[in-house]
Amino acid sequence: MDNDLTPERLVGFWRDMLRIRAFERAAVYQSSLGKIYGALHSYEGQESCAVGICGALTSEDYVASTHRGHGHSIAKGARMDRMMAELFGRETGYCKGKGGSLHIADFSCGMLGANGIVGASYAIAAGAALNAKISKNGRVAVAFFGDGAVTRGTFHETTNMASLLKLPLLLVCENNDYAQYMHRSETMVFDNVADLASNYKIPGVQLDGNDVRAVFRAATTARERALAGDGPTLLELKTQRFTGHSSGDPQVYRTKASVDELRRTRDPIAAFERELMDAEMLGDGDAIRAAVDAEVAAAVAFAEASAYPNDEELFSDVYA
């Protein structure tokens, strides 16, 4: 399995993590300039989760995402320019500007949509997995969700049903310790999300979400299990968000120092970058960094240059 982790691949992971972070920073910055109308939930700090999981998927596999979905889209293969255009509300955006940050979707690469409802991703992914199973198309589906979403009843309903039906499903919890302003100890009486798995007779694995290789390997194992017809796997990735819950979060529930500490000690990109450099896979990485910066700059320019949708778009894409 580790054979898959060629140097090219590892550098690709690093690049994709950089891309996600650069995209998020640009989005937050553009938002602060008033260029983005709706709310943003930055994925900064969690990059290795999306990259490790989606790295183990094909572009045909499905992903159902959350309100914090930009990272999943990028890792699954969506284009930054059309994503940024979506945030800017432009017609060139993935959803013609109608969805915005909360609803970015790119069906062409299996990204079935971010979602504004906490706990909605489980069943949508399970359904994609059900279709994959029935049509025997060799795909799997991933439901991303946060620690806060685990206490929605849909977790229980879907996990039980998916296990009964042995669906090719990966349930991926990104446990960043917070649901909006509540610490997980205030929302979950259990200590570990992964512990819930045994009740549903599926494997439950808790791992350091910052370790992109470990995430990739766990996802690969889960995917193989899914394709073998053995059913879902629950992965709990211990991670952290470097920003507030959304653009306007004053973060009264944690100190600035604790966030600085997180950024210093728990940066999934910095740690991985050191590793790659030590292993001399990366060189100085500047060419990649420059390419990423250019990609983001181009995405912003593309978004800015794009037109807003015509008024008639109000009435398209809906049965009437």
Partner: protein, 329 residues
């Protein structure tokens, strides 16, 4: 034409479409031993092995999963045993299924039909007797069918199953055993948004939905004996609504009475009445009248239950009031 029941007509639509679309699946509780709600799918387990997905009592997961399957494949039917239980999966219906096509800028197709029995039955009270079509019809992105006859049930369901937008398919419990002529034709398709004129008349237009169509027809018989010629219009789908047929009738008769079983306040009957009043004001000889259930939960005891839904007599009574005095004997 051969006559079959409403139940058989629905069953026939389902099995014909299952044969036609090898990727179609049906999900729901109790599907295999019991055939699902009201025994609709008896033997489907043997007929369509692997494609009848029996589920736990987990309606949110049922509809959410059906949606995910529909977005990536389909057609998918999700059966909800009683429409009152839709309350536990409204997010999946309203925030997810209804909106994903729009929110994704047109990327999604959603060949999903949620079939569910609605309306009054026999004493099963407030949590098993509701008619909540006004909720679904209020939501852009959903289509809502309420067939009143076996033929319409078959034809509308087949159309629903060939569409790419989510449909809420409402079947009245008291209609399941009602018989009527139904085309054997596998291509018997009834378009959405196309009302049927269940009886033509000249004095008064009665627009009625679901089970109320039969009450309206019964009332029209009584009225005919009194010399009042009522036209009965069955919209068949309440979203979209066929305004053309309704308006044409009102223009002819000058009088409109709208009848539905749902609680009148906030109902589709009110929507229809408001729209007629707004768009065909000048055609009206008098106010658009409405009949619906009174503003109370459904009681269990038979006497009160009967009072809690509109009757043919109610229709007759209001229709009489609507006619000019000389007519009212």
């Amino acid at each position: 034409m051969r006559e079959i029941t409403y139940r058989e007509a629905i069953r026939e639509a389902l099995s014909e479409e299952m044969r036609r679309s090898p990727r179609m699946i049906i999900m729901g509780e109790d599907l295999l031993p019991g055939g699902g709600s009201f025994g609709m799918h008896l033997n489907f387990g043997e007929l369509f092995p692997g494609r009848m997905i029996e589920t736990p009592i987990s309606e949110a997961a049922i509809v959410g999963t059906a949606l995910g399957a529909a977005m990536t494949g389909g057609p998918v039917v999700a059966e909800i045993m009683y429409s009152d239980f839709m309350t536990v999966c409204m997010d999946e219906v309203v925030n997810q299924a209804a909106k994903i096509r729009y929110m994704s800028g047109g990327q999604a197709r959603v060949p999903l039909v949620v079939r569910t029995p609605y309306g009054i039955a026999k004493g099963i009270a407030a949590q098993h007797s509701q008619s909540l079509e006004a909720w679904y019809a209020h939501i852009p992105g959903l289509r809502v069918a309420m067939p009143a006859t076996p033929a319409d049930a078959k034809g509308l369901l087949k159309t629903a199953l060939r569409g790419e937008d989510p449909v809420i398919f409402l079947e009245h419990k008291l209609l399941y055993n009602v018989k009527g002529p139904v085309p054997e034709d596998g291509e018997h398709l009834i378009p959405f948004g196309c009302a049927s004129v269940a009886r033509s008349g000249t004095d008064l237009s009665i627009v009625a939905t679901g089970l109320m169509v039969s009450k309206a027809l019964e009332a029209a018989d009584t009225l005919a004996a009194e010399g009042i010629s009522a036209e009965v219009i069955d919209p068949r789908t309440v979203s979209p609504l066929d305004w053309d047929t309704i308006f044409a009738s009102v223009e002819k008769t000058g009088r409109a009475l709208v009848v539905n079983e749902a609680t009148l306040f906030g109902s589709i009957a009110s929507e229809i009445a408001a729209t007629i009043g707004e768009k065909r004001f000048n055609a009206l000889d008098g106010p658009v009248r409405r009949i619906g259930s009174p503003f109370v939960p459904k009681p269990s005891t038979p006497g009160l239950e009967k009072l809690s839904v509109p009757s043919a007599l109610d229709v007759v009574r209001i229709a009489r009031e609507m006619m000019p005095r000389r007519r009212a004997a």
